[in-house]
Amino acid sequence: MAGLTEAQVQDRIREEAKKALASGEVSAVVGWTSTRFEDKTKPYFAETEAECDLLVWNKYCINGTGKFALDDRYPEKKIAIIARGCDSRALNRMLRDKQLKRENLYIIGVVCDGKENAVCEGCQHKNPLTYDVLIGEPVEEQMNAERFKEIEAFEKLTPDQRYEYWAKQYDKCIHCYACRNACPACNCVECYADQYRTGWQGKAADREQNQVYGLTRAFHVGDRCIECGECERVCPMNLPIMRQTKKMLKDINDLFGDYECGLPDDAMPVLGTYKLEDPDEFM
């Protein structure tokens, strides 16, 4: 890769993290640190200068960092987030949804070279889109011509095949809500699924309740999905969760024009707005 080596980026991250903490405006820097396994890193809050030296940058930095900005919605100090392209889009998502204030964030953008994560192959935004300081030279972005390839293949099946497939997938779900907790679009103050006394979502992990959960979540985040793939990565039962949300995105692109989320513009989510000239099928 042109520009900085992995080790150089890591040094720069530590340097910027220390600088941020030294400024006194930042309470912690969220990045990645090593684990006992070489091929795994974990999210890490560096709160002292010495802890900044534990931050790492390598191809296994796959956890999203953006969502941690929501841990404290009313912080006394800023929180610094080390953000790859997807993390910056996650932050944009939450800023757009008015869950975060920009002035509470200090974003250390890092140009990403793709990680050991399946979703990175189709990444359209390796450069952070929003940042206070940028590490690395911006690279040329690749449009992913196969963005909806998987969806198109799946659409070709018969309705019964599709239903059977999803029913079996939802049978596996264990209701751990990891997809929700990792998703930057799942940023409601209180999730409908936690308000189970209202009867929206039953607690049993059976097919019926899992279908409600799966489709409700897909529909709720479908028009705000930034395609970071965290939901699929975190799922312990390996459900193809993106196959639902991407279907929503595909239809949105087909019906309402080119659409991508998490960009630093003020575009409303598709379902939060309308156009008079929208197609009408209900006449």
Partner: protein
Amino acid sequence: MTLAKKDLNKALEILSKDAVVFAPTFDMIEDPSEGGQTMGEKKFMPYKEGMFIALDGPNTVKPPKDVLFPNVEKMYRYKTGENAEIVEIFPEDTKKILFGIRPCDARSIEAMDKVFFTKDYVDSYYAKRRENVVIVSMGCVEPERTCFCDSMGLDPNNAPNADVMMNVAKDSVDAFILEAYTDKGKELLEQLKDLDGGAGEAKRDVKCSLQINKDPELDKKLAGMFEHPIWDKITKGCIGCGTCTFVCPTCYCFDIDNENYGAEGCKYRCWDSCMFSDYTRMAGGANPRPTKKERLRNRYMHKLSYFNERYGETLCVGCGRCVANCPSHLDISEFIEKATAADPNAETYTDAPGKEA
């Protein structure tokens, strides 16, 4: 007795004549859009003819606990209104064999037995299922990199509470040595006597890949560390999902809820997770464990300290499932080491080397 590897399916065939045999296998899911089947998760499934049995390799994602303590257990059905009534629902009365569960999972059943059978009340549903279950435990063949059961006081080669213990033979990788530990086990081996290849010696020299440094008195040490600053640090990366609790073989907490069908309904209990906000929230909104820090602390303390105090053993069996599946790659074994090394009276805590206050 000695059982040749090639006779494994034959053996399960015999056993499944009068019992449901749960064995580790890979679940397949049809995905015609990607050209056929995709390999699903490894899990315990009822034996069907010709099923591939995966005794070696990594452990199942979900523990076998749902055979004894199902994800959803119907408790009773009821009618409301004028004709109100309550009718208890009993678990099915079929014999089940848990075949090839690892010693860590066998130990987890021992822990669940303590919970559901002791301390004044016997849980009828669990008891009913438990008496019908025969445990055939398989000694670890190749431990995963996340396995640390021997550091938690277990032997990956032997499960003392199993009905039958099964190991690879010392002199042949193509044979298993089966030994009955209980009467139930003897009965089971009796059924397989036609396949017996004679006496043999079991290979019992497997060691866990992860050797961790654990204070033997960690439970007592942790009891004094409730307010320790280490909790702030180690819980920061948690995203608050329930993965660790649902893949844990010893997590037994449940919730009770009902489902209505008009004027009838059914009360069921289902797995619950201490990592959810709803778990301890009371009517009116007060919550004694408001953030992930309190929740994760409670989970770790329960596994490593509270349970020792109440039932005299550690609840973590070192199976490594939570280590392998945590979305944030948090690691209870790492916590055990950190807590072992930590100064229980420290005012501050940092991960940075040489800076321990």
